[in-house]
Structures are given as C-alpha cells and as structure tokens.
C-alpha cells in the first residue's frame, strides 16, 4: 500500500513538472525549407562541411556573417580598423585566433568586443549585458597566451585592430553555435519575425532592428502558461513587473533610446506600430518569476510609408521632416 501510494505521488510530481514545463516553444519548420542539408546523411554532411572552410582576406572595415577563416595583412599602416560579426538570432559567434603577427609594444592592438559598439554606444547596453564593459573587451596583447578563443554572449561581436607595420597581420576562424534562448539580438535583415522567450530568468532582453520599420506584435504572454496557481495581474509597466517596451532612437544603445510604448498585459492578436527611427528596439523586462514570451514580425518602412504617416505611427520621433 505504501509503495503504491509512493508511486502515485511520483506520478503526480512528474505530471506537475511536465505541466510547469520550461521548455522553449519551437516553431516547426519543414525540413529542407532553409537547410537542404537536413535531408542528407550524417556522413555526407561531414564530408561536405570538411571541404567547405571558407577563406578570404579581411578588409580594414568589414562585416562578416559567414563562418570561415579570415586573414588581415596590412599593405600599409592601418590605424583605425574594425570588423563586425553578425549571425542569425539563434546563433552565438566563436572566434579562434589561428595566427597573430602584430607589434603590441609598438602600438598595435587587436581586441575583441562582446557586442557592437558604435560612436561610443554599445549593444547590448551595460544594463542588459552580464559582463561589465571592461570585461567585454578581450585584448590580445594582454591575454593572447591565455585566451585564444572567444565566444560572444549574443549574435553579434566585433574586433578592433591597429597594425603599423606593412606585412604584419593575423588570421582567425569564425564559427557559429546554437543559442537556445536568444536574449539580445541585432537583426541582420530589415524584414523578419521572431519569438523571444525568457524562461524564469531575471534579465532584460533587447531585439534591435537598425531600420525604420513597422512592427506587429502578434502574441504576448507575461506569466505562466497553464499555471496551476492563481494568476496575479501584473503590477503595471511602471512598477515592478514584467513588460515589453518599444524604443526608438538614432544610436545603438537601447538605454539611450526613446521609450515609445510599453505593454504589460498578455494578449493574442495584432498590435502594430510604425517607427521611423534609425534603430527600433523591442525590449522585454523580466523579473524571473514568470515565463515570458513575445512574438512579432517587422518589415522596413519604404519611402512612401515614411512620408504618409497615419494609424499608430509615432509623429514626434525620428520621422524625416520633424
């Protein structure tokens, strides 16, 4: 009898744990829709991957969104160089130094930054990144023998470098790894859709689109799904609680952008907003008490839409001519 009761308790506990379910909702996509490699056997995939290490020369100012090996060789003194790395929202960037020939004592440097920084503004902002700013820079000249590999905390990273001597330079390899719960993202494209999930984590996550866009939020869930507990209403956007805010501005740092709207009630449907700013950010603030999820899509505002503004458009910020 006691063992039967114990078995029932175990079953109830398993059932409750399954209902609590902190797994990410995965959108099912047809195999081969984006990845024809899914149709192949593992052996053939390995063979194809092994042959396909991409290699090209790195420019002084460059943007990389592919995996591969990249070599920079200075043809003349190059004093202000940077390379941006960007992946898909569900990817992290890994950089491995293969070869470095720079004169650190002579003023050369080579630094990796965890995120992007433009005109002094960082993404993710200092408020949203797990590391302090000083630790987001990894200086090869100071730590080259210790840290030969670097992995970003989000889908973007960059390097800064300066090489005085012609002929000097470096080579590195970029790989991408999966990120199960993307938090801070910069969109590669002006059009797309995304679902951001923050499962019981006390953190704030931003999705940045560096184009004027119309954004449609189709699904916002702040709190538990199928919770067995009584659901308490959020305490409001301005106070303690979980909410989503829309920001607009002309820089990269979400903490320096204008708040345009905030949402603190769950809903299903479509809430649309046109934002004519250079940078649009959807930011979710999460206390860690709930599983929060927001689904949205966005597309770039064309010139006609920028000039003809009506219906939920923000007149005061960022539109040309204001």
């Amino acid at each position: 009898m006691a063992s039967a009761f114990r078995l029932q308790c175990h079953c109830i506990l398993i059932f409750l744990a399954a209902l609590k379910g902190e797994t990410r909702y995965l959108e099912a996509r047809g195999a081969g829709e984006d990845e024809p490699f899914l149709l192949l056997s593992a052996d053939l995939k390995r063979e194809l991957a092994g042959r396909q290490l991409y290699h090209r020369a790195l420019r002084c100012i460059d943007m990389l969104s592919v995996e591969g090996q990249f070599t920079f060789t200075a043809a003349q003194p190059q004093l202000h160089c940077a390379a941006f790395f960007i992946g898909d929202p569900e990817e992290l960037i890994t950089l491995d130094y293969d070869f470095v020939n720079i004169d650190c004592q002579g003023g050369d440097f080579l630094k990796v930054f965890d995120g992007w920084i433009l005109k002094g503004e960082k993404f993710p902002s200092s408020l949203d990144h797990p590391l302090p700013t000083s630790e987001r820079y990894i200086d090869f000249c100071e730590s080259g023998n210790i840290r030969r590999s670097f992995r970003s905390s989000q889908n973007v990273a960059m390097i800064f470098f300066r090489v005085h001597e012609p002929g000097n330079g470096f080579t590195f390899t970029i790989k991408k790894n999966a990120n199960l719960f993307p938090c801070n993202v910069i969109s590669q494209t002006p059009t797309g859709r995304f679902t951001m999930v923050i499962p019981h984590q006390h953190r704030n996550c931003s999705f940045s689109i560096i184009y004027p866009v119309v954004i449609k939020i189709s699904d916002l869930i702040l709190g538990h799904l199928n919770s067995l507990h009584l659901k308490k209403p959020s305490t409001g956007c301005a106070g303690v609680g979980d909410f989503v805010e829309l920001l607009g501005g002309t820089g990269l740092d979400p903490s320096k952008m204008f708040p345009l709207a905030d949402l603190c009630q769950s809903f299903h449907g479509s809430a649309q907003m046109k934002i004519g700013c250079d940078n649009t950010v959807l930011r979710m603030v999460s206390s860690g008490k709930h599983i929060n999820r927001v689904s949205f899509e966005y597309h770039q505002l064309d010139q006609y839409e920028l000039e003809n503004r009506k219906e939920n458009s923000i007149e005061e910020f960022c539109f040309p001519g204001i």
Binding site: L48, F84, F99, E142, I210
Partner: protein, 139 residues
C-alpha cells in the same frame, strides 16, 4: 695638479662610456620585430613579452628603460629610426590602457551597406554549398 685632475676626469669618463661588446640595445634592436610564427595549433611565448600591466618605456635623457636587463654596459647609444618610431607609437598603447573603450564612428547608413554586403556574401556561400550538394547527390 691641474693635469692630475684632468687625467682623473678622463679616466672617470672613459670608465662610464659604453664598450662595443657591451651594447645590449643592439641585440634587442635587431630582435625587436621578431615574432614567432605560430604553428597550428600550439602557441609560443613572444621573446621579452612584457608582464601584464607593465607601462611602456618612457624615453629619457639617461639610461633608456627597456624590458630586458641592460647588463654591465649601462646606457645605450643612438637608436635607429625603426626603434624611434616604435617608441613614438608606444604612448598610443598606454592610451588604450586608460579605460576609454575603443569605438568606431560609422553611420547607420554605412552599417546597413556593410550588412547588405555581408548578406550577399552569405547568399553566395549558400548558393555554392547548394551547388556542391546537388553535384554530390547527382554522383
């Protein structure tokens, strides 16, 4: 008396002049641009790598400060132009240790142009991969 003083002074001056074989600056000067080619995947320590946090040498009228020990020969002689250029650059390396973050002044317009280029590169790579894939499937 005067002659004695002059000769004593000459001896003292001669004692503190550098000798040919004891010119440690020449060794580092020759070796300064030497950086080990790094064989994959192991790394080698660079020669005379400064300790972490060390400040770059500040040129002075007296004995020049270098990371390597000067040895018995004391102050160095004239420096070559490449060495002078490196020393002129080294205040820049001090600047990067002052806590100001590196940044780039790129407009959003240019950033979008670069994003577009990177997207095209990515598409070209995918097209090439698909081509190889179809070629392999066809075999």
């Amino acid at each position: 008396m005067r002659i004695r003083m002059i000769s004593a002074a000459s001896v003292l001056v001669l004692l503190f002049l550098p000798s040919e074989e004891g010119a440690p600056l020449e060794r580092p000067r020759g070796a300064a641009p030497q950086f080990a080619l790094v064989p994959d995947p192991a790394w080698e320590l660079w020669p005379r790598r400064p300790r972490l946090g060390a400040q770059p040498p500040v040129p002075s009228a007296g004995a020049p400060a270098l990371h390597s020990p000067l040895g018995p020969c004391g102050a160095g002689g004239a420096e070559s132009p490449p060495e002078l250029r490196r020393k002129e650059r080294s205040p820049h390396s001090a600047r990067r240790k002052d806590g100001r973050p590196n940044s780039l002044d790129l407009t959003f317009h240019l950033l979008r142009e670069f994003l577009e280029l990177s997207r095209e590169e990515s598409l070209a790579r995918k097209a090439l991969s698909n081509k190889m894939l179809l070629r392999n499937i066809g075999k």
